[in-house]
Symmetry: C4
Subunit: 276 residues, 4 copies
């Protein structure tokens, strides 16, 4: 949907999942380091709810793209013409996120699916989004083209980072990076909506002004900074709350990590394997 709502909807979806991740991953990280093998049941249930919501969001997105008044209503080809291909492309994007959600669910429910498949499919979903956007933006005014193509940096970056999680699963740094990119993408969709389809009667942006393009490029960086701050804030909040809750029982968390000169992630992994 080439209007404000068509950008606000996916933006909100990405923001909601991103904000949830910015709470979930710190929680998981501290939990793992504090005590082992508890809350697992709760954690698995939360993951399942998350996967369901992800699938649901995709379904809502597909239905919205198809059945808005000027949507294709599931008609693809009609009287020698393709019907509303833009909406169909958006449908395809949502569809891949939906598949990713279903795979997440299956990975949790069925034991015989190899770990990593969920990350691979998510990486593919993000890649497909970038791929479709890449071929999406021809024949548009410069600002429209630019504001959409900036998204490609985030999408291909996220795709590579998520694909790395197939090998380096449960790496907190990669997970936080993914989280920050997702929030970033969410706020950027809102920004696109505000720039291209000003909702409150604010004046239109001149789509050919070079200065606008230059500002938007810089604004893109600020959005990422904002996303970083949100992740950092939620990370700190989770830490503070966890510390408060646990203080009576003893400080399990404080002082765990010391900055040794040879404390590499790799060795952490290796010594982790000895403990098991």
């Amino acid at each position: 949907m080439a209007n404000f709502k068509g950008h606000a909807l996916p933006g909100s979806f990405f923001l909601i999942i991103g904000l949830w991740w910015s709470v979930k991953y710190p929680l998981k990280y501290f939990h793992q380091r504090g005590k082992k093998n508890k809350l697992d049941h709760l954690q698995q249930r939360l993951e399942l709810i998350e996967a369901t919501i992800k699938t649901l969001f995709s379904a809502i997105g597909i239905l919205a793209e198809q059945f808005v008044p000027d949507g294709p209503h599931l008609h693809l080809y009609h009287e020698n013409h393709w019907v509303k291909l833009m909406n169909w492309q958006h449908t395809t994007m949502y569809l891949f996120f939906g598949v990713s959600g279903i795979i997440d669910m299956l990975t949790l429910l069925i034991a015989h699916i190899p770990l990593g498949v969920d990350r691979l499919v998510l990486a593919m979903a993000v890649f497909i989004e970038g791929f479709l956007f890449y071929y999406h933006v021809h024949d548009r005014p410069p600002l429209d083209k630019h504001i959409h193509s900036l998204l490609l940096f985030a999408l291909f970056g996220a795709s590579i980072s998520i694909a790395l999680e197939v090998i380096f699963r449960d790496n907190i740094v990669l997970e936080l990076f993914r989280t920050s990119i997702l929030i970033f993408q969410g706020t950027w969709f809102w920004q696109i909506g505000f720039v291209l389809f000003p909702p409150f009667g604010t004046p239109e942006w001149d789509q050919n002004d070079m200065d606008n393009i230059m500002f938007i490029t810089m604004c893109y960086c600020w959005h990422y900074l904002l996303a970083l701050c949100i992740v950092a804030l939620n990370y700190s909040l989770v830490y503070c709350i966890l510390t408060r809750v646990r203080r009576p029982g003893g400080g399990e968390i404080i002082g765990i990590q010391k900055l040794k000169p040879d404390h590499t992630y790799q060795t952490a992994l290796l010594s982790g394997s000895d403990e098991e």
Copy 2:
């Protein structure tokens, strides 16, 4: 061969190998996790048959490209002119896959070839295919150009993924990804054939229509989704059949994998090395 058969032939080759892989890799994966060190002899024989068929397919492809009525019949340069360079380029593509097949055979038969060389040569064969396609598509109508250049995403993606298998050999996720890309490539070759050379008298596609290009871009994503579904289906089938067969003897497979928070692939590898 710039006609329907010239695309259906490699498409079928890729599909056959891809479908076989979508059965082989799950089979290997469950087999490894269930019991150790059995069926090895059978497995090695199957691998050998696969390598032979791969080489055979390449030979058929080369012969077809060279000796079709309008082929070059092994003439490369004739009266100051290069003869049928298109067919020669296709021959080169098949040739590299043939070399990859031969290397696969040698790796199985001769113990002193380092593991990983087979993957590297396969990655090179896929890269060469992409490389030749990249310089292949100039001076053609837009749709023809676009439909071929889309293939590059699959080819370079597959090439990187297969090259990773040099380091992370026998990683089931990378193997399934490779399988899905191969099936995808197979169905896409058929799609190219149907679009550019409609076989059953269906009307020609307008090669300059922007909407056709937009549809094809999206269609490309759907093909990948189809490939993913085929892999998932075959994976499930293999699992079901294996479970049925083994149930009398005890459930070796069910409940092996638990989703621990720190269950990384890396640690799996490491603990695997302890067991040996």
Copy 3:
């Protein structure tokens, strides 16, 4: 600031940090291999001072860009026009390095921040610098465009290399590479200043001369060679001084490393994990 000072300032910042790194990392490397777990307190204090200086430099950069006489003085939008976007873009670049400095400090001071986040944020800061430069250089004379766009190779190379340090933390080779790129970037900023804004009344360069562009391309390589030599020199100096200082107490350093055929970095890491 599109003048000589505007390039000399960041150039000096990069040079100072780069030269300090070219001393720090060899020192850390020899220190780790000689004796274990000493000087840690001093080391941590030095790291903290470095992070503070990094943040300070960024603050100076931001203030300089904003409050030079022809700067924007924190005005972004004024009378329907964006104010001095060039300066704002430079401000954004400094800002990200400032955030990276703050994250470095926090990682040192607070135990619960996962190792690797500091590297990721630094990689992002370098990427953002490259990203903004990429969209920065349109509509300029060829030499100006070329001399700035050459910087992108260093920036994106550094960004990838620093991102690798998230996984392979404390790898001396990656650290030295990062150091060499930083010094390189520092000298290059000075070079840009001298070429585009000759400070001592030297004649202007012809910005459209193809030969000048060809020379600058080659000159860029020489700058990297210079940076390599500086790193090598400082590395040797640190080694010599350390050896002199320690000789009375016995030769801890000499003869530690032997070139075994199977002495891979990976095994070094692994045996390192056993020792802990």
Copy 4:
């Protein structure tokens, strides 16, 4: 030197080193697996000779580029004009390979240089060669441009592969890949010489003919195939000779490697670290 000799000289250098590597690496590989820790002294001496020859070749290249009759004779700037920048660029390429040779020597002679620096500098030398070629080929006839730019695939591929050896040092597959690329580069330089400057009075190639470009693209692939075959042949020869020599003393080599389903390179590395 834009003539036949100017391409034959580096081509020969690359070929000589490449052919030597195609013998050295198999030798090292079999040697390591057969008996441990012998011949080390000889091996180190060979490595030293190789590094010296590499440096020597670079020196010859630099001298040839500078002091051919129409060379710059070390003059860079003369009467407001850059002197023979083409030759200076070639000099720079040789220079970096020379630095790489010196670093190789130092790594062998001095124990305190971290392993991996030699690979990093080699990767940089190859990258710089590619980088200079990339900006080298503007304003030339299409065939000239194309035949040089094809080289970039080999150079950037080799650069990435060599950089990987910083982490995965002594991986035989990466070493053989590097060897094949080097031989490939050597034969391709000869090919460039024959195409652009036919030495034996053969007719000139039409530099604007699309068919010639198409043939050269394919020919490039054949050269790589040739390089692969040379590496495979030398590998087999080394194996046969080693087996003959050792047969009296018992078959140390045969039957070492079995294709186990979970025999990953990673586990090989890990179990290797246990043995030490």
